[in-house]
């Protein structure tokens, strides 16, 4: 192996922050997180256990940076070690559930992304994930779709025109998984209908909307993510928007938490997930809707709930929409992952479909009429999972429930 690769790996290992290095040193490899991990529970492969990932990572770090290596020389990182770390890093939905079982509360989401950066430096990023980068470069979205088809979803739904203004108070950042995935077109439609029904000036970015950068972050390409952050913030600030709303949990988390770190400053606008916006409108009486009586079970998207703290807002919004709201046994900060995150679909779609089955079956067992979420990646996982496992259950985004109450979406 060339010394150049070893130097690249060393440089990447050297990027563990102080806190992350302390976390790696503190981890007792107690395996208390293992049973909580959706990937491990699906495969029962020890390499997919979160604690094993820290064992592997600290071992590699010590090969390059320990006192021993400083005295007696650095050790070479072998191909097998690189392959194992890549296998471990990408069999993870980045759901952060391991944080909620770790007695020390390590910020595992950030730690696993750092490990993916190391995997990228090793050149062992899985092929499908590496391909994602090319698609992003060419099309500014991770699905390889032509950028000028970003608003094509509006052709398939009953909406007259989606506003593309030079200036507006509110910008609706649609997100790639909503714009390009058929299962989510009605989500974009529903959010647009909600905005249309309110007396607000709003706009979408159209072709000027690029991927939020979350897939690049998840693929360990922080510099690439920065490019998307810079572009999107510029486009939004140029339009002098005061508030950006998005229905995508991944986009929301990027804007709210990653962009300030990537850009070194806070953007000049407020960022809200559309479910927060919806809750506010409902609470202020701006949307007068009839309450239904369907049994609705709400799934907390990991990036929205556990990782962003938006837990009570969707429940409050739902309380205006139905009189019969039920919960999964583990919900809120403890919610089980749907399998739709962390780029797992590109690496091991069977595992993703295996993970989502657990939630679908629990929703069925609880006699839910509708399984509701507030994230297009979760909805996609549920729709794909229901099809794969032949499960009959209505799956909706929370905004689609509003559109149903408006009478503009089929029951």
């Amino acid at each position: 192996m060339t010394s150049n690769i070893q130097e690249n790996i060393k440089a990447a290992l050297g990027q563990f922050s102080r806190k992350q290095l302390m976390e790696l040193d503190t981890c007792s490899h107690c395996a208390l997180c293992t049973e909580m991990c959706p990937a491990y529970n699906s495969s029962k492969d020890s390499l997919h256990a979160p604690g094993v990932r820290t064992s592997k990572a600290v071992k590699l770090y010590d090969k390059k940076f320990s006192l021993w290596s400083k005295i007696f020389g650095e050790k070479e990182i072998t191909q097998k070690e690189m392959d194992d770390l890549a296998e471990s890093a990408y069999h993870c939905t980045l759901c952060g559930r391991c944080r909620e079982s770790c007695p020390f509360g390590f910020e595992t989401h950030e730690l696993w992304i750092r490990i993916r950066e190391i995997v990228e430096a090793m050149g062992t990023t899985p092929e499908n994930v590496a391909r994602l980068s090319n698609m992003l470069d060419e099309n500014m979205n991770p699905y390889g779709q032509d950028p000028d088809t970003r608003l094509d979803w509006s052709f398939y739904v009953d909406i007259d025109e989606v506003p593309e203004e030079d200036e507006a108070d509110i910008a609706y950042f649609i997100g790639c998984t909503t714009a390009y995935k058929g299962a989510n077109h009605e989500v974009a439609f529903s959010i647009s209908k909600i905005l249309e029904s309110l007396d607000v000036s709003w706009t979408v970015l159209g072709e000027d909307e690029w991927c939020c950068g979350a897939p690049s972050m998840m693929a360990g390409k922080v510099e690439e993510a920065k490019k998307y952050a810079e572009h999107n913030v510029k486009m939004l600030e140029d339009r002098k928007v005061k508030k950006v709303i998005t229905g995508c949990a991944g986009c929301f988390r990027s804007f709210k938490f990653e962009y300030p770190a990537l850009l070194g400053r806070k953007p000049n606008f407020e960022i809200q997930h559309s479910v927060e916006f919806l809750r506010d409108q409902l609470a202020e009486g701006k949307l007068d809707l009839e309450k239904g009586d369907e049994t609705i079970i709400y799934h907390d998207p990991c990036e929205l709930g556990r990782l962003s703290g938006i837990i009570k807002e969707p429940r409050e919004a739902l309380s205006y929409l139905t009189s019969n709201q039920i919960e999964f046994d583990e919900n809120g900060i403890d919610s089980k992952c749907c399998g739709g995150g962390g780029l797992l679909q590109g690496v091991n779609n069977d595992m993703r479909l295996d993970i989502v089955k657990i939630k679908l079956e629990e929703a069925l067992a609880k006699n839910a009429d509708i399984l509701v979420s507030a994230c297009p990646a979760c909805k996609l996982a549920f729709v794909d999972g229901a099809r794969e496992h032949e499960i009959e259950l209505e799956i909706r985004d929370i905004h689609e429930i509003v559109a149903k109450r408006f009478g503009v979406l089929e029951e």
Binding site: R18, M22, T26, S28, H29, G51, V52, P103, G105, E107
Partner: protein, 244 residues
């Protein structure tokens, strides 16, 4: 007594403590230097003292998260950490950080029980729970965890130190009388005072093993005794920041 053993015991009690303190201090300095040499964190939550203390108590002292999910494992880890905590607290009396009189309000019988009987039970709990944790680790090895050498090293040191410490308590003291017996780590500052000389051989082996424990701390998983309060403090502050 065999002169070699006698010299060895004298070294463990009279000279090794200085080495222990020196190695521990150097090891901690190296560990801190290792952390500080890493890049700074971009976004740390604003430290919230109340939330930090709350989650240190809930998650590190009481193992809330483990209790929520697996009562049996919780009982094991709580027994292990609780007994080791109690035993370390008990040892602090020997360093004159507290005195037996704090139990006087409980009455003579209870005070005596707290000072002389409870530590023996604590010792058994520690030995039992350490052994079970070792068995658990071996059983889960290559299935749910990949241990590093020092994961086993740490557990073995605790187990041996606890075994010889318990031997020191349950076997009768030697017949020779000593009015005052001290183990000096830092003269006039860190000194272990013993009011009774326990079983001689067990005592010296216990002194050796506990010093190995201290020496090993900065270089091993024992570091979580120190660093393990920082992460939950940040976790608590992050929860506050996210309003969870």
């Amino acid at each position: 007594m065999n002169p070699f053993i006698s010299t060895m015991y004298a070294f463990w009690v009279e000279k090794l403590p200085y080495i222990t303190i020196a190695v521990f201090t150097l090891g901690m300095a190296l560990r801190i230097q290792r952390w500080l040499s890493a890049p700074k964190d971009h976004h740390l939550p604003k430290l919230d003292i109340v939330e930090s203390i709350k989650y240190i108590i809930l998650d590190v002292v009481l193992f809330r998260k483990t209790f929520k999910r697996d009562k049996l494992t919780w009982a094991l880890v709580f027994a292990f950490h609780g007994s080791i905590g109690g035993i370390i607290f008990g040892h602090m009396r020997g360093f004159h950080l507290w005195s037996a009189s704090i139990f006087d309000p409980l009455g003579h019988w209870w005070a005596d029980w707290m000072i002389h009987t409870l530590p023996v039970y604590m010792g058994w709990i520690l030995i039992g729970s350490t052994f079970l944790l070792l068995v658990r680790r071996i059983r889960l090895e290559d299935k749910q965890l990949h241990s590093l050498v020092n994961d086993y090293g740490a557990l073995l040191i605790v187990l041996i130190a606890a075994l010889v410490g318990q031997g020191m308590r349950i076997f009768p003291p030697e017949s020779h009388e000593v009015v005052e017996y001290s183990v000096v780590f830092i003269p006039k500052f860190i000194v272990l005072h013993l009011e009774l000389v326990p079983s001689y051989h067990w005592f010296h082996w216990h002194v050796l093993m506990t010093q190995l424990f201290v020496i090993y701390t900065p270089f091993s998983k024992f570091i979580h005794i120190i660093s393990g309060v920082i992460s939950p403090a940040l976790y608590g502050s992050r929860r506050k920041e996210l309003d969870i």
